[in-house]
Symmetry: C2
Subunit: 231 residues, 2 copies
Amino acid sequence: MEIHTTSYDCQHCPFKSKLYIDLYAEEMQIIDESRKEFFYKKGEVICGEGDDLGNLIYITKGLGKLHKKENMKTDQIINFVVPYDFIGFLSIFSETKSKYSVTAIEDTVACAVPVDIIKQIILSNGKFAMKIIENMSKVTDDILETRFKLNKKHLRGRIAYVILFLSEEVYKNTTFTMPISRKEIAELINMTTENVIRILSEFRQDGIIEIDGKTIKVLDTVLLKKICEAG
Amino acid sequence: MEIHTTSYDCQHCPFKSKLYIDLYAEEMQIIDESRKEFFYKKGEVICGEGDDLGNLIYITKGLGKLHKKENMKTDQIINFVVPYDFIGFLSIFSETKSKYSVTAIEDTVACAVPVDIIKQIILSNGKFAMKIIENMSKVTDDILETRFKLNKKHLRGRIAYVILFLSEEVYKNTTFTMPISRKEIAELINMTTENVIRILSEFRQDGIIEIDGKTIKVLDTVLLKKICEAG
DNA sequence: CGCGGCTTTGATGTTCATCAAGTAAAGTGG
DNA sequence: CCACTTTACTTGATGAACATCAAAGCCGCG
């Protein structure tokens, strides 16, 4: 991890429109002066389980995973963290130490703002507080809904979901490079590594996708969506 | 449902300490004047899926379930709603219509405060906003943690969890009356009604619990906890 | 180059859902 | 209040979905 040469100030950051839109110029400036921008290589830990939650960190570029240690060998991956996501730091307002980890699964740029400063602004700027609340509400709703849906799907439906999510939401391309291992896919959607591989092979044999190592090419999006929906 | 003769004003309501502690007297009074208290019989719907989220509703007495229609015949129960819980109304800040239902599973008293008034106070009182955020954060964390844990448990572990939760958290008694049917237990912990019954019978045969219809008596809390932990 | 981690495939076993069928309880209308 | 219908509860038998175990090839890395 290294401190990034800041490419732009908060005023011109795309993230501004998401949360900071209602800030007064002085508030914006306080954040701008206190924040730090970090660059993480793929695989680097952005925030570890048990770390002090001193900063509100959000990702501005790249891709991460929000996860939690299950035991020595396995993680539970809660979900992906994409730019402008607020997630993973929800507990920042109720806990002092992080209950989760966030790890870069692509080269990632993150911004850290001391949580005390955020809290101060919440106290003084109601509109900002409201934005935070709305954002938390939305993010939470999303995770819960996704999780309940995934739980009811069969293995094929879950794999279909992951492929579609990465293809459509993250990379916006039918061909993409899997940012995570088979094992991690398993940890994300609650199945075994072996079955992840098995079902990816089935999809390949059925002509739904092409696989070349980490590279996936979606051939039949329509069918994939049917499998995802049907469960 | 009937409008309840208000038993106390907000100032003396036990709920005050939970969220309203930082309110100024005038704010407290605004809430007190605009709120309505309702009484629900067991089985009555407190908030239906698709209803307008015009009010922030919280339960002050009784027990409810937060649930969502899965299809014609089955619900997904997200979790229980106990007094002083804020849950089920998280989406109130990001949606205009409820994505979930809340139904009384015991005789229940609920308080409804127009959400506009809550939002106004959030805007003007930062401490109150902060309390809301902290509460949301905690509640969300809880649900997610519980759900991830439950998913990894086997059927016996899940049933053990429900029995322990009701016995220890809700009724604080080793003997209690199940507020929900076998089918609803199944909908809460993602299994079939048949298996709920089967495993309850197993627990009875193993001398872990006594069953008389809806009445459950926990005989071996220690073993039950082991089953719950082991999964 | 050898070690550990990731990937892959096959065989086996367990957990659990589904189906079936019957009893008990609870609501409904005449 | 009683026949009727529906809903909840219960048990057993069967099969499908999935985890586990085993074994081998592959790749990166010290």
